[in-house]
Amino acid sequence: MASGTVSLGTAGRDAAAARARRLPRVTGRGLKAAAARVIPPLVVLAAFLLFWEIACARPTAGLPPPSRVLSEAWPIIADPFFDNGGTDKGLFWHIFASLQRVALGFFLAVVVGVLLGTLVGQSDWAMRGLDPIFQVLRTIPPLAWLPLSLAAFRDGQPSAIFVIFITSIWPIIINTAVGIRNIPQDYRNVAAVIRLNPLEFFWKIMLPSAAPYIFTGLRIGVGLSWLAIVAAEMLIGGVGIGFFIWDAWNSSHISEIIVALVYVGVIGFILDRLVAALGALVTRGTSAA
């Protein structure tokens, strides 16, 4: 690292050495490891794009090749922030609207799911009563709830949020219940000896102890809700990435659909990693127990 610098005094060299010690990752080996992780996906991606380009090169092909996707959809890629009123908005606004629905629906699912999961995990009676119902309800596909929620709410926005809620709540309930059931008797004994009341027990013992399980449920839940929102928005209309895709299909803008799908995939991946990172942060002590 110091080899690139021309003439350092003793003090300068010491400072450089100190910096090198503080940044142990910026070494030849670190770069090599990073390259080993980054290069294979890039190679595979390039090969896939090349294959796609060749396969769709004929003018009669059903799908546009990547080069044409790029040129046709360039306006929406270049300016995701335009807003011409109504539903004629940039991709950013559509994704933002979808994320808002997911955020609200998922937040409600977390609150209700953790509480219900705690109830099911804590009480044998609730477990016997609720578990069969949950097991049946959780197999219902998200979109099947949409007509029912439209009938109940008579509006697209709350219906979409309800679909997110009902889709993501099951893994949260089930994982929370398992986490609560797995709280070691030792922790319960400690809580009993110091006489924590039920509310303190919930906040100070149950939630942190079950956190690794809860976050597994949250991660599955956020993935499912992102799956569901795109489908739901295709049906309810309004601003949203799902509506954008359906609208593009109706206007035969296949290239725009492909760009939107890339965004959907990337956002879904980021959501998953965000929840995973949050979980790792919150449970850093517990999981190593």
Binding site: Y187, N189, V193, I194, R195, K204, I205, P208, T283, G285
Partner: protein
């Protein structure tokens, strides 16, 4: 004893029913402790000695008989009967200090101000020499250290009776000896009433005023109570050839391995 005992177990028995079959684990356990007394309960594994402790702690309910602490019947767990658990039972998501503070903040909330409680947590960590690791999490410290924190947490509740369930059972011999010495030193200062479960004969003789020896289960009960008339402070090295020590040790060994050997071992 004419005065009512500080802690009084009378005719305590417990049975467990599993799939229609009832097993009597303890029967007619009678034991009286004076204030400040250190009593250990020793017996083969499975004889129900931990069950006795859990009944005194209130974590298990006796089927027959009762436990009285200062004349009041014990019916639920509480901080005046603090427990040092066998496997330390520290909460892994809290630091050492937070583990002790959780108990202190709950138990002493009415008696001490916030600042006093923080000082009391620090004081108890210092008592077991754990101040240096106060901000570490349990998975970052050794087994012996965890057990010391467990003891600090129990002592910090200002218990009337300290209950210890094989506190040093999971530790290596050197760490165990070290912690025993520390415990004796703390006990000299605080004069707690202590019930300790152990399966280690030397530990029982070294630490106790009396040793309660239990018969084998099912229907285990107290076989014999042996007083240990050794002066305190006791020093491990001085005791090795002490006649009283050797005699007590022999008595316990005789009880455990001759008169009440485990059936499986005797065969």
């Amino acid at each position: 004893m004419t005065a009512p005992a500080h802690l009084d177990l009378s005719q305590v028995g417990i049975s467990f029913t599993r799939s229609g079959q009832t097993t009597e684990v303890l029967r007619d356990v009678n034991l009286k402790l004076a204030k400040g007394e250190f009593v250990s309960i020793i017996g083969h594994s499975g004889c129900g000695k931990s069950t006795v402790l859990n009944i005194v702690a209130g974590l298990l309910k006796a089927s027959t008989g009762a436990v009285l602490l200062d004349g009041k019947e014990v019916s639920a767990p509480g901080p005046e009967r603090a427990v040092v658990f066998q496997n330390h039972s520290l909460l892994p998501w809290l630091t050492v200090r937070e583990n002790v503070a959780l108990a202190v903040d709950k138990v002493l909330a009415k008696r001490k101000s916030r600042a006093e409680r923080a000082a009391w947590v620090a004081h108890n960590l210092a008592l077991v020499n754990m101040t240096h690791a106060a901000d570490k999490r349990p998975n970052e410290i050794s087994g012996g250290m965890k057990q010391r924190v467990g003891i600090a947490r129990a002592l910090a509740m200002e218990p009337t009776v300290l209950l210890m369930d094989e506190p040093f059972g999971a530790l290596d011999a050197l760490t165990r000896a070290h912690l025993q010495d520390q415990l004796m030193e703390i006990q000299m200062r605080l004069r707690n009433t202590v019930i300790m479960i152990t399966h280690d004969v030397d530990e029982a003789v070294l630490l106790s005023d009396r040793i309660v020896m239990m018969t084998n289960g099912p229907s285990a009960t107290i076989g014999e109570i042996l007083p240990v008339p050794l002066a305190r402070p006791r020093r491990r090295l001085d005791l090795v050839e002490d006649q009283t020590y050797v005699h007590c040790r022999a008595e316990v060994l005789e009880f455990l391995y001759a008169r009440h050997a485990k059936p499986a071992l005797a065969a």
